[in-house]
């Protein structure tokens, strides 16, 4: 297929892989970016929020020309029971002004644009190509084997950006299969609504956007959350739940999604919308209790393939892009020294430890473990919060003093003092 030899082969043209390929090509490194889809982005899914600042470190001013949907001016969390919601949100005019904090994006469009940038910088992109295995020589990884005839490609460094289903690292022997309680299954729909309706329903103007994350009844109390993100003239509507809990609950993901869309707090926002696209994707879950094996001689792992997702803060695309850059810097240093051994590849992990990624993911693993061990959090507390708000706001001739006493009594019936204290202490210990 490609007769030349490359310095670096990057497997997968998502955010991590393309960030790596762009950084390498900019530095004059001969780089091949391999994508299995028809075009970069054709297989890629996320909820839809990308942050400005981390990507500036790779492509300054990227958001001025990238295909973004809306800058995010308002972020809300809704805690749901069957018929009620406690809503918390933050909106700022400063988030609605340049240079902005975050944007909603559609990955099929965004990733295509980003990969074009890597190609402009000098990377070679091949699509419709699956990497089946790595090539090995004397314990060193020296390239990849693709599904194409004569599809072996030699390289000094292979960067695995093959996503959550990282079969490549399993072949390399870095890890086995992920267990069902370490991944979330997310389903999402694009719902066409029109710019004007979106602006009116979400009280937006001048192209600004809003995000809502919905907990509790949104997922039948399972670990995870629903989301509604505003795009230009569509909504991204979906939910993600821990695969192990979904299996135990014996519901279909589509049933969960339809149930979520029919929730009285949600259906009003979607009314008269037209379903445009349905998709599903896995999200690696659980952070890093310790840093997983992310390298072998001549081999580096980035992005979702490395489990770099912080579910609680819906961050992952920024870790992906930064890890791609850090892997690229490691490969550049290795090429300069002509050393692709274990110690040189370990420099990548040192770079991750110096960045915010390792710190964030260690923190998230504590939070995630706490949530796993306390499955009542997303059932007991939404009920408790909504009941308290309901009692407090209902005018029925009861004096306020008695109302507060009743709320406390009811709360303590649901979570006795010791259990409540345990939850609070656990949450404090688990905070990021």
């Amino acid at each position: 297929m490609v007769a030349e030899k490359f310095d670096v082969v990057v497997v997968g043209a998502g955010l991590a892989g393309t960030a790596a390929a762009y950084t390498l090509a900019k530095a004059g490194v001969k780089t091949l970016l391999v994508e299995r889809g028809d075009y970069p982005g054709s297989k890629n899914v996320m909820g839809g929020v990308i942050y400005r600042q981390p990507l500036e470190k790779i492509l300054p001013g990227w958001w001025r020309e990238a295909p973004i949907e809306r800058p995010v001016a308002e972020e809300s969390i809704w805690i749901l029971t069957e018929d009620s919601a406690v809503k918390v949100g933050y909106r700022s005019e400063r988030f609605a002004e340049e240079p902005y904090n975050a944007f909603t994006v559609l990955r099929a469009k965004f990733d295509k644009w980003f990969a074009d940038k890597a190609v402009e910088a000098g990377a070679v992109l091949v699509t419709e190509t699956v990497v089946e295995d790595v090539l090995r020589h004397n314990g060193q990884i020296v390239g990849v084997r693709t599904n194409r005839p004569d599809g072996d490609i030699a390289a000094h460094v292979v960067i695995a950006a093959d996503g959550v289903n990282s079969l490549l690292s399993q072949k390399v022997g870095l890890h086995g299969e992920l267990p069902p309680d370490r991944v979330a299954l997310a389903v999402k729909e694009i719902i066409q609504l029109g710019t004007q309706k979106i602006d009116e329903r979400f009280t937006l103007e001048n192209g600004e956007g809003a995000t809502i994350e919905l907990f509790g009844d949104a997922t039948l109390g399972m670990l995870g959350y629903g989301f509604i993100y505003t795009n230009k003239d569509t909504l991204s509507v979906g939910l993600g739940v821990l695969l192990s809990q979904l299996i135990a609950r014996k519901v279909t993901p589509n049933y969960l999604l339809e149930r979520f869309k029919a929730h009285p707090m949600v259906r009003r926002l979607l009314a008269d919308g037209e379903q445009k696209e349905y998709m599903a994707h896995l999200i690696p879950e659980g952070g890093w209790p310790q840093i997983p094996p992310l390298y072998a001689p001549g081999y580096l792992v980035v992005g979702d393939a490395a489990g770099m997702v912080n579910g609680a803060f819906r961050e992952g695309s920024n870790y992906a892009a930064i890890s791609g850059k850090l892997a690229a810097l490691t490969a550049i240093e290795a090429l300069e020294r002509g050393d692709f051994g274990r110690a040189m590849m370990a420099r990548y992990v040192e770079r991750l430890q110096e960045s915010f990624i390792a710190d964030d993911l260690a923190g998230y693993s504590r939070l995630s473990r706490f949530a796993h061990q306390n499955p009542h959090l997303l059932t007991a507390y939404p009920r408790l919060l909504c009941d308290a708000a309901h009692a407090l706001l209902t005018v029925d001739g009861t004096p306020k003093r008695l109302k507060f006493a009743e709320i406390v009594r009811k709360a303590l019936r649901q979570r006795p003092p010791l259990a409540l204290a345990r939850d609070v202490a656990g949450a404090l210990r688990a905070r990021p």
């Binding site: 299995r36 889809g37 028809d38 982005g41 054709s42 297989k43 890629n44 899914v45 996320m46 069957e82 018929d83 559609l106 990955r107 099929a108 469009k109 990733d111 699509t127 419709e128 190509t129 699956v130 693709t146 599904n147 194409r148 959550v164 289903n165 079969l167 299969e177 992920l178 267990p179 069902p180 991944v183 299954l185 389903v187 729909e189 694009i190 009844d217 039948l220 569509t234 695969l243 979904l246 014996k250 519901v251 279909t252 993901p253 589509n254 049933y255 339809e258 149930r259 869309k261 029919a262 929730h263 009285p264 379903q275 445009k276 696209e277 349905y278 998709m279 599903a280 994707h281 896995l282």
Partner: protein
């Protein structure tokens, strides 16, 4: 009216997933399935057959007459959940051949 919003797993609500898949673009590899059940005997003995409900596009269907799970790989959106969630790890999962499978327009 919404006394209970919990429903049995078979309950149909809103749009069936089969209808939603009309909006997804697929390029089907007619030559071979990228999803293969390694040993159908294990499926017969599998109590819950969870693949028949947790797959987000209902690729897997239990056919009681022939005592087999059928695999509708042509509508697979390549999420990987079946590979991880199958209790006896009985599904050989590959990516579709390059350029085949689902092609998202939005993602």
């Amino acid at each position: 009216m919404l006394a209970t919003r919990e429903a049995p797993p078979t309950a149909q609500l809103g749009t069936p997933v089969e209808d939603k898949l009309y909006n997804v673009r697929f390029k089907t590899d007619e030559t071979a399935s990228h999803l293969i059940i390694v040993n159908q005997e294990l499926c017969v003995r599998c109590d819950d057959k969870p693949c028949t409900y947790f797959c987000p596009v209902a690729v897997y269907k239990w056919e009681p007459g022939v005592q087999r799970i059928t695999v509708g790989y042509e509508k697979c959106v390549e999420c990987g959940a079946c590979r991880i969630g199958c209790p006896p790890h009985n599904i050989a999962w590959r990516y579709p051949r390059g350029g085949f499978g689902c092609q998202y327009k939005n993602g």
